[in-house]
Structure formats: C-alpha cells, structure tokens
C-alpha cells in the first residue's frame, strides 16, 4: 500500500510527464493559454491515462509479452514488437469510447471537454505512459497507480502553466519573446522547481 502511494507521488511529481520527460508538450503548450481549458485538459488526461495504462498492461502480458503464448504450445513466440500498434489502437479506442459515454450520459462534461478528447489519441504522454509501463515491468496495480499519478502530475503542471500565462497576458514583453518564447522560459523555470522533488525521493 505504502509502495503504491510512493509510486503515485513519484509518477506525479518526480517524473512529471511534461516537465521532466518532455512528453505531451504539444498540447501542454497549445492548450495552456487559459486556465479553464487547462483544467479540462488535465482532467481528460487523468481519465485516459488511468484507463489505458492498466488496459495496455493486460493486453501486453496476455498477448504480446515474450512467452505469453506458452499455453498454446508456442513458448518461443515474441510479439512484443507489435506493442506499439496495439497500444495506439487501444488508446484510440478508449478515447473514442470515453467520448461516446460522456456524450450519452454526461453531456455537460462532454461539452466542457470539447475538442480535447479526440486530440488525446495523438498525445505523446499517453502513449509514453504505456511504453514506460512495459519498460519498467509494473504489475497491474502498479500500472493503474502509475497511470493515475502521471495524469495527475500532468494536470497540476498544465493548470499552473495556464494560470501563469493568464497573468502574463498583461505583461509588456519584448516582441520576439511574446507567446511561444516566454512559455518555454516559464516551463523551464517550472521544470527547475519540479527538479527539487527529485531530491525528495533521493533522501
């Protein structure tokens, strides 16, 4: 139990997806112009990561891992090179399903998400979550916690960046730095701050 809590914190803060691994930066930068859209993106990320990482874990161990087909008399079969296509397919399907479920049962949330949901299919952070899960050999519970934690970390980072950028809209910046340039500099400073969390785990 304690380990899982530690894993959650680690996934959320120490290994923050956008700020230490640079994953999902495209949406991170593009959708953080307003805090409201940042909140929507953060919640959607948590939901999708929390579902797809454990699901991909099940598919990987049951079908793709080396030796997974041992029960069928093919212990030498190694399909792990197919994992990329399988993961992308699962993510696209989950996003589509989530969209339909929300549209049917929670129309208010659906309209709040707007265009973010379909965009999440091509989010590097979501695919990255599944790939890290395989690389680090998490079990089912760990992968679920890792997915949720990574989503929460992304949400925290993107909401903070959105809030800072909303303030900066009133600042008088040099022309070339306006918009994209200053956003990178802010993200860099946030990344400096988040690197302090790495010390927290080391001690």
């Amino acid at each position: 139990m304690n380990d899982l809590a530690a894993l959650f914190l680690r996934a959320a803060f120490v290994e923050n997806m956008p700020l230490t691994f640079f994953l999902g930066l495209c949406t991170f930068i593009a959708l953080s112009r307003r805090p409201s859209s940042a909140v929507g993106l953060g919640v959607a990320m948590m939901a999708v990561l929390g579902v797809t990482v454990p699901l991909n874990h099940l598919i990987y161990t049951a079908l793709l891992a080396p030796g997974a087909w041992g029960w069928a008399g093919m212990p030498a079969l190694d399909l792990s090179y197919l994992s990329l296509i399988a993961f992308i397919g699962v993510i696209a399907a989950v996003v589509q399903l989530l969209e339909m479920v929300l549209d049917r049962f929670f129309p208010a949330i659906y309209t709040a998400f707007g265009v973010f949901l379909p965009l999440l299919t091509v989010q590097c952070a979501i695919l990255g979550g599944s790939l890290f899960m395989v690389e680090r050999h998490y079990d089912l519970a760990q992968s679920a916690v890792f997915g949720l934690g990574a989503g929460a970390g992304f949400a925290v980072a993107v909401i903070m960046l959105g809030a800072i950028r909303a303030r900066l809209a009133y600042a008088d910046l040099p022309g070339g730095l306006r918009g994209l340039g200053i956003t990178f500099v802010i993200a860099g400073m946030m990344s400096l701050g988040f690197s302090a969390f790495a010390q927290m785990v080391a001690s």
Binding site: F22, Y81, A92
Partner: protein, 221 residues
C-alpha cells in the same frame, strides 16, 4: 520547368521561415528530450525525417481511397508501422544510441509533426510534393534539434559527438562543465531563446499582444 519554384519553396520554407518546431508548435515533445548530446539528436533527426518522408509518400499515394471518417486511424497505423521498422533497425545497428533514446523512437508515432504534415499536406497533394514537404519539415525539425543538441553537449560536457572540444578542468584544461545544460530546464530555456532569436530576425512571426495598454488621454488640462 514551371513547377520547380513551387517545389523549391515547399522544400525550403519549413527550414527557417515556417519552421515546424519554432512556429507551428509541432513535435516539441521529442525535440527537447533527446538533445542532451549531438549524437542522439542526429539519430533522432534522421529517424524522424525518414518517417515523415515515407509516411507522407504512402499516405499521399492512397489519399483518394481513404474514407474521411477513419482517416486518422489509417494515418496512425501507417506511421506506427514505419516507426516499428525504424526502431528495429536502430536496435539492430545502433544498439548503444537506441538504448539512450529509450521510448522516444517509439514516440515518433505520436509526434504531432508527422501526423500534422500528413493531415494538412500529404492527404491533399500528389506524392512528389508531399514527400518534398515531408523532407523540408523533417530538415527544419532536424535543424532545431542539432542546434540545441550541439549547444547542450558543448557546454554540458565540453564535447561534440564525443570528441573533447573544450579541455575540462579535471583533465588539466580550463573548462568547467555546466551540469545544468544536461538537465531538463535548460532545454526549455534554450528553445525559448532560440524562438526569441528567430523572431527578432523575422519580425513577421511575432505574435500580436493579447492586451494593449489603454491609450492615455493627451490633454490633461
């Protein structure tokens, strides 16, 4: 050859003027993660350029047969297959660099640059311009990666491609390596600075201010 100037600008525009990383905000994810050394940046650039060019060519070949409603899935499957091939090639011939790049080669699949170009250009144009557009964008992306990778390796380790350029202090030289350069934040700072420099040279890329100061009344009397 009347078509030549158009193709030429399709190739050269994305290099600086329409650079995919600094102007279109495409493919930043991997641009920062793999630039701790010049060698990984070069490998990543080559892999991505290959995927963009081939993916654009294939998608453009079948562009008239893709139903509109499932085009995203088809594009992703084509791109993912290409990425798997590249990944296996790297693991076979450059195992060292492939280990350093870890998941980032696989993440080319979801690189917005690849999908963005196939979505906005390749599926509307014949194969030759589509591939040239892919090549131009791939090279523009590579340019940014190589600049950032070279700066980070030069100042972080005093080396370029593994050769010691600046003699280190602990080997009797004068250069103290800046460890910050190898950490995540410096990549953000460098890219921010690069965007700033580029936009100072090309002022037409400057984004309009969201709010301007209210005009001060001239006559206060």
């Amino acid at each position: 050859m009347p078509a030549r100037p158009a193709l030429w600008s399709v190739l050269t525009d994305p290099l600086v003027r329409q650079n995919p990383v600094t102007l279109q905000i495409l493919g930043i994810c991997s641009a920062l993660a793999v630039t701790t050394s010049l060698a990984t940046a070069l490998t990543m650039s080559a892999a991505l350029t290959a995927v963009v060019v081939m993916g654009a060519g294939m998608i453009s070949l079948i562009r008239n047969h893709i139903p509109n409603s499932i085009r995203l899935i088809i594009q992703i499957v084509i791109i993912a297959s290409l990425v798997i091939v590249i990944d296996q090639l790297l693991q076979a011939f450059l195992p060292e660099i492939s280990r350093k790049l870890s998941v980032f080669v696989s993440l080319i699949t979801t690189n917005c640059l690849v999908l963005g170009r196939s979505e906005s250009f390749a599926r509307l144009n014949p194969p030759i311009p589509a591939m040239i557009d892919g090549l131009g964008n791939g090279l523009g992306y590579s340019l940014v990666l190589i600049v950032i990778g070279a700066v980070r390796e030069l100042f972080g380790e005093g080396a370029l491609l593994g050769y010691q350029v600046l003699p280190l202090v602990d080997q009797g030289g004068w250069f103290t390596p800046l460890n910050l350069m190898l950490m995540a934040p410096s990549a953000f700072f460098l890219l921010g600075g690069l965007v700033w420099a580029l936009r100072s040279v090309l002022p037409e890329q400057v984004e309009p201010p969201e709010h301007s100061a209210p005009a001060i009344a001239e006559d206060r009397a």
